[in-house]
Symmetry: C2
Subunit: 212 residues, 2 copies
């Protein structure tokens, strides 16, 4: 598959470009800043495309078979960026997927995006933005998988995860394992049109994705 | 008509409750803070209902024939409130309108909401929030009117307005005239399923609404 990674220079994005570069897939790294281009090639990108999510990003997904949206302000930048990137940038990317018939779409969402009213005052707007983007993707007709990771860490990937089956389980997940989960899910039918929380755990990624 | 005013204690909301209170319509003032209740009754509200747009507001519109959404952070509060109130609060109100079959919906939007990419860095997130809410309303199936006023002032209402037919005209509009335009538009079929910019001008409100 030819995969457009939106937010390729983000922390998850960089893991993802590297993993996709080593796989049978082709990867188009979509970045905001031209100066990141050599770095993306070094990581394993087959193509690099510069696009600004706050403007138009239509071309960024054209000709691909899958989109991974992992651009984001992470909840710690200004809330104006949360609105412009996490919500509006996601809306634009989903719409571009529909227009250009890029059927497969994996969204890197966030735990709590499906229940923002339970979020802290400080984080609620972020969960709302992620949740509204997820909603739009679900209603888009695209073949989606929505992954809602717990608190992201920079620890080395373990290759094992947990997909909790209740809402009482909280925890961390290394960004490397989120990226590995995305790669594994890309063509796994059991994940099509589904949404799930994602934490670190002891189950090999493929096994966890086949059995949740 | 029984009209739910969402954001009744806002500056436009207060004008609107007062005008609707004097009209043949019935007005339900929807406010966030219980302590505003006596004031709303004094202004002319037939009913007062306390609801928080950041939580669930389903009951706020039930049993009404029209909704006016004029809640908002105005672009000068934190961007997290823009996301939670102007965008998410509007989404919830539109969805509640659909669920409870409240067919008529007037949105107080903002000039530039239909072209946020032209907005200043400081205001762009606000225009995006208003524009996404307008988009959702247009796609809701409800009988909408979207009013995009220019810069709001607290000057006395003139009773005369302008609906510019191009995008090069900027200007002000007293909040009192925005409220009067809403009341006039409520049952005027020429405004159904239409969106327009609104500025102060020299044309009587009803005439301007009939002829744009």
């Amino acid at each position: 598959m030819k995969v457009a990674v939106i937010g390729a220079n983000g922390k998850i994005g960089r893991h993802l470009v590297h993993l996709l570069g080593k796989s049978d897939h082709q990867v188009r790294a979509v970045i905001r800043n031209e100066q990141q281009q050599p770095d993306m090639v070094k990581l394993g990108a087959d193509e690099v495309l510069v696009a600004d999510l706050e403007q138009t990003i239509d071309d960024a997904v054209m000709g691909c078979e899958a989109i991974v949206f992992t651009a984001g302000s992470g909840g710690h930048t200004g809330a104006n960026k949360t609105l412009l990137v996490d919500l509006d940038g996601a809306f634009k990317t989903i719409d571009a997927g529909v227009v250009h018939s890029v059927d497969r779409f994996i969204m890197v969402s966030s735990m709590m995006a499906d229940r923002p009213e339970q979020g802290s005052d400080k984080m609620r707007h972020y969960f709302v933005a992620k949740g509204r983007a997820d909603e739009r993707l679900r209603e888009s007709g695209l073949n989606y998988t929505i992954i809602r990771p717990g608190r992201l860490t920079d620890e080395p990937g373990k290759g094992t995860i947990m997909i909790p089956d209740n809402k009482e389980t909280f925890g961390n997940i290394p960004r490397a394992d989120v990226a590995a989960t995305i790669v594994e899910a890309l063509e796994m039918e059991h994940t099509y049109r589904r949404s799930f929380d994602l934490l670190t755990g002891d189950i090999p990624i493929a096994e966890a994705l086949r059995s949740f």
